[in-house]
Structures are given as structure tokens and as C-alpha cells.
Chain length 391, copies 2
Amino acid sequence: WEKIVSKIVEVGRDTKSLGKEDPRRIIHSVKVGLAIALVSLGYYFDPIYEGFGVSAMWAVITVVVVFDFSVGGTIGRAMNRGIATLIGGFLGVGVHRLATCFDIKALIPIIIALSIFIIAAIGTFARFFPKSKARYDYGLLIFILTFCLICVSGYRDDEVLDIALTRLSTIFVGGGATVLVCVLVFPVWAGQDLHNLVADNIERIGSFLEGFGEEYFKVMEDENAKDKKALLNEHKPVLTSKNIEDALINSAKWEPRHGKFRFRHPWGQYQKIGSQTRELGYRLDALKGYLNAEMQSNPEIRANFEESCKKMSYESSHALKKLAAGIRTMTLKSSTKAHIADAKAAANELKSLLKTNPWQHHDLLEVIPVASVASLLVETVCCTIKIAEAV
Amino acid sequence: WEKIVSKIVEVGRDTKSLGKEDPRRIIHSVKVGLAIALVSLGYYFDPIYEGFGVSAMWAVITVVVVFDFSVGGTIGRAMNRGIATLIGGFLGVGVHRLATCFDIKALIPIIIALSIFIIAAIGTFARFFPKSKARYDYGLLIFILTFCLICVSGYRDDEVLDIALTRLSTIFVGGGATVLVCVLVFPVWAGQDLHNLVADNIERIGSFLEGFGEEYFKVMEDENAKDKKALLNEHKPVLTSKNIEDALINSAKWEPRHGKFRFRHPWGQYQKIGSQTRELGYRLDALKGYLNAEMQSNPEIRANFEESCKKMSYESSHALKKLAAGIRTMTLKSSTKAHIADAKAAANELKSLLKTNPWQHHDLLEVIPVASVASLLVETVCCTIKIAEAV
């Protein structure tokens, strides 16, 4: 009994934190409930019910299945479902007509079953194409479904065309209601989300770099900089963000003009920036490895590197943060360039420091680790410049 | 016209390569067609049709929607659909009974619409929980769907319990047929796929390392080692494999005992190995950055490093490949340990080389890049050891 209570409390806490993290989730849930209740109300009015009959439930099914978190996702699914039903329905009617042409009752089930087998197999295979998988997977599923349903129903009911048309119109009603509710009541735009995600990722990388410069040169002294440690995990979500990004880009492509985004916004560009950000993220993960590495440099030598390394990570971090802010407001700030120039200067400084080679009589083994960190940071600066160019 | 022909030729070529890449795709498509045709045949036999009536189409829908590429995925979806229909159906019947209790005809639609709104909103919100999203997302969708359908149908037809029961039994028939076809005809096991994916990823990393050692020390000489270049992209799919892995683990958890896998195979372990493999992959991506980096070391100094670096990458590569082979056959080979020991020895060799510091009079700037590569390789060796422990 106590177990159940603690379980309920836990679920309650999770619910609260999920809602707090993104209040749009609560709004979304209410929107879905609203749309379904709205469409099902149509079932109670006799004039509407007379028109559709039992098929009216297809409208309800459409709402449940089509409603997605973002506007783009909803429109995409609604379009997929509508067009797939249209094509599948008419193909089904065609096959039915063809089968009845032969006028031999026993032959009809065989022809229909055979065509179902062929169409379902082809449709299923088409879902494996990478291009169709990304955008039309749901449509192909509905196509197979509608085709089979129309074919099968046709055997018991000769009004196949009627069935197909009713199904199509109920889906249009359900899909239309869904899209309307989704767009009119607190819409969530996938394009906006994508935009924010890309900017967030760049900012995360920036925060990591900010924390890293401090952390690496402090690690020898005291160990209770907990909040800095947190910064060093900032880059983790970036590394695995590819799939979310791809899904958002797919949804965003369905969206009409909204806010500051034009209709044919260059969504592909986000993909490029995203993959470059991830590449930089990989470098940083390697950098992080040095924090706990076995080989550590002599503190004295470390101090030599400290200034330019700190400067590089600091300036790159600020350049990235400025870039993120620039993406958010869609204006490129000139101060970004200044930060990048400073980061470059620090990298050159480091190079000249290395040229003078002040550690001739030191054990080289002690120089290497910090030098590696430094050279990875130089790479980081290069990556930063690439991202800045892509924006 | 020519455009259409070339398009068709292109689609044909794609189809062929998709089928060649994984022939199980073709088998899967045929299986789906078979299952649907089989279930729809039931529609033509009068005794079966009498039992279910028009609801028989739910069996067809179930087959189309539930059939997944792997056995685990299919069983998971079928279970989700079955249990969700059961719960949603009986809750729907309950609400319908409650609403008719009041005996005021005008009140019924309001009570039903309200309960639909509440249940749909709660159900939609529950889909955001990370745990339920991974395993029960589809079930929650079906739960909402069934509940709404039963509630709505109840208004026009008083036999709600009958509707719910027919729906449930048709879904059992459809789901059962799907699972049977999926398991009996050339089954595809998610567990086996996961197992192979993890081993493949480790092997890819191994191939990369094998190519890298050669490539890095050759870059100065000649530039037409094209096949080595290909090896250096081997690690790319590893970096973004997280989502595929998670999906496979989810499916694998639904699978019964099969082949060399017990029922409660430690699937979580694959997740650990996978994430460590990816971490190593990130390091390698950083290493790859050095191939085209601006700063390059003096060839003479490079030659000093060559032997131990090559040995490190060679030995780690072989250790990883042996590990991958060991995972495949589920036996740990002792030769893996030998390779790891050799890699460690090479790392130590490098360290002592650095201690002697033979480049006192060289420009340190020219030592650093190759030294960084070397120290990243040392890190790589460490990661390899970690993976070996996890296996």
C-alpha cells in the first residue's frame, strides 16, 4: 500500500517537472482533448450523423492519429493521410471493378486477395526507401490500409465508391478540424523549435568551452568547483541531437509562412550548421578526456600555457555565444567577428610561445598533455570559424 | 518523357541496391503481403464473417499497423494494441454506463464529451513521459482511440459491450496472425540485429584505427591511397548510431528466447558497450581532424614517433577487431588480451621516448601536432581497454 502511495507521489512529481520543463506540453494535451471532443460532438447531431453514418468514427480516428506536437508535423500527417486515402481508395475501387468484370463469383476473392498481396508487398518495400521513409512513411501505411479496406469491403457491399467517398470526406473533416485547432490555439512551430535547438546547441558548446578553460588549469589546486563541473556536461545533448534535428527539419518543411520565417526558409542550412556543431562537440568530448587523463603535465609548464589557452577557450566561447544570440535574433553581430579575431590571436600567440621553446631542459613527457590540449583548442578555434561562416 | 524513363530506371536501381543491401527487406515485404491477404481471406468465408460482421476489417487494420520489421517490434506493438484496446474499451463501456445512469437524454452527450476531453488530454500528456514514450507510446495512442470510439459509438448503439468485445476479438485475431507469420516465416530478431550492430560498430572503429596509423604517417609522401581514405569514414555511422541502438534494445526486450539468447538477456549491457564505443568514436573524429590540420610536424620528428604510434593504432585496431569477433561468437578470445597488452606496451614505449627528449634543439611547434596525435592514441588505448572490460 505504501508502495502505491509513493509511486503516485513519484508520478505526480514527474508530471510537475515535465510540465515545468515545457509548459507547451500541457497546452498540447488540452488541445488534443479539445479537438477530439469537438469532432465527436458532431456524432450527436442528427443532420451530421445522417450524412456520414457509422463512418463518422473515421473522423475521430483521424484526429487522434494525426494530431502532432508541432504544426508542421500535424500538417504533414494530415496531408499524408488525405492523399494516401485518395490514391488507395481509388485504386481499391479500380481493382474491385476489374474483379467484378469477370463475372465469375468464385474468382473475385482470388483476384482481390492476389492484388492485396501484391500492393501490400510493394507498398511495404517502398517504405524502406530512405527518402520516402523520412517524409511519406505514414502516407504509405495509410495507402496500404485504405486499399485493403476498400477491396475487402467491396466484397460484401457493392457500393464501393460510396464507401471510399465517405471515408475520404470523414478524413477531410477530421483532418481539417485537427489542423485548425493545431494552428489557431497556441500553435507550436517546428521551424521555431529547430531554430532554437540549433542556437541552443551552439550556446551549449560555448558554455562548455567557458567552463573548460577554467577547469583545466584549476584541477591541480582545489576540487570543489561543482558548478563548473556541470558546465562540462553541457555538450552531451549536442552529441546525440542529430535525430531530433532531422525530425524537426522534416516537420518544418510542411509549415507555411509564420513569424519571421518565410515559406521557403533554407531549412537545409540548419542541417549544415547542426552537423558542424556536432563535429565541434566531438572535439570537446576528446578535450574532456584530458581532464581525467593518466598523464598530467608539470604545473610549472602548465602555467606557461595557461594564459593563451584560457584566452582561446574564453574567446571561442564568447564568439559561439554571440553566434547563438545572432541566430536567435537573425542578425549577425560584428562583435562575433571581434571575438573570433581574438581567439585567432591567442592561437598565434601560443604558436610563437612554442617556437621559443622555453622548456628545453624539461622532461618532454610533462609538456605533451597540456600541449595536446592546446592544439585541440586550436582545432576548436578553426571549427568555430567554420560555424561562423555557415551561419 | 525521357525524364520519366530515367526516373523509372533510377527507382529500379535504388530498389535493387536496397534489396541487395539487406535481402530481408524483400522477405519482410512478402511476409506483410501474405499476412494481410491471409486475414482478408477470412472476410470471404461466410461463417467467419457472420461472427464478426463489418468489424472484421479491424483485423485487417491490425495486421497492417502492427507488422514490424523485427519480431520484437511486432510482439511489442501487438501487446500494446491488445492491452490498450482492453483497457480503453472497458473504460469506455464504464463511462457509457455512468452517463446513461442519469436518465436525462440531453445530458448524455455532455458527460461523454467531457470524459472524452479529460481522458484524451491525460492520455496525450502521459505520452510525454520518457519511460512510456520508449515502450508504450503506441499503446497510449490506441487507448485514447478505443476509448473515444466506444464512447461515441455507444450513443447510437446501446450494445456498447458487444462493440467492445467484437473489436477486441478481431484485434486478437489480426494480432495473432501477424505474430505467427512474423515468427514462423524467416523471423528477423531485433536481439540478433542489436548484437551484430554493436559488434559491427566496434569493428568499424578497429578499421578506422588500422587505416589511420598508415595514413597519418604517409600523408607527406604520396596521396593516392584512396582505399585507406575510405577506411577513415568507417567511424561516421558509429557516431550517430544511438537511436537505432535504443530502438533495437526496446524491441529486443519483447522477444522470447531464441537462438543463443536467453529470455532475460542483459540487453542493458549493449547500451553500455555502445556508448563507450561512441565515446571512442568521438576521439577518433578528433584524431581525423589532425590529418588535415594547419599545423604539421617536421617529417624527421614524425619519423621518431612513427613506430610506436603505428604500433598503438595497429594493436588497438586488432584488439577491437578480436573483441568484435568475440562478441559475435560470444566467446572471449585470449588473443584479445595479448593485443591490448601490446598496445599498452607501445604506449609505454612512447612515454619513454618522450622522456629522452631527442628534439631539444628543434622548434617545439613542429613536435606538438604529432605528439598530440600520439597522446590521443594513448587515450584511444585506454578507451579500448574500457570496452574490453565491458564486454
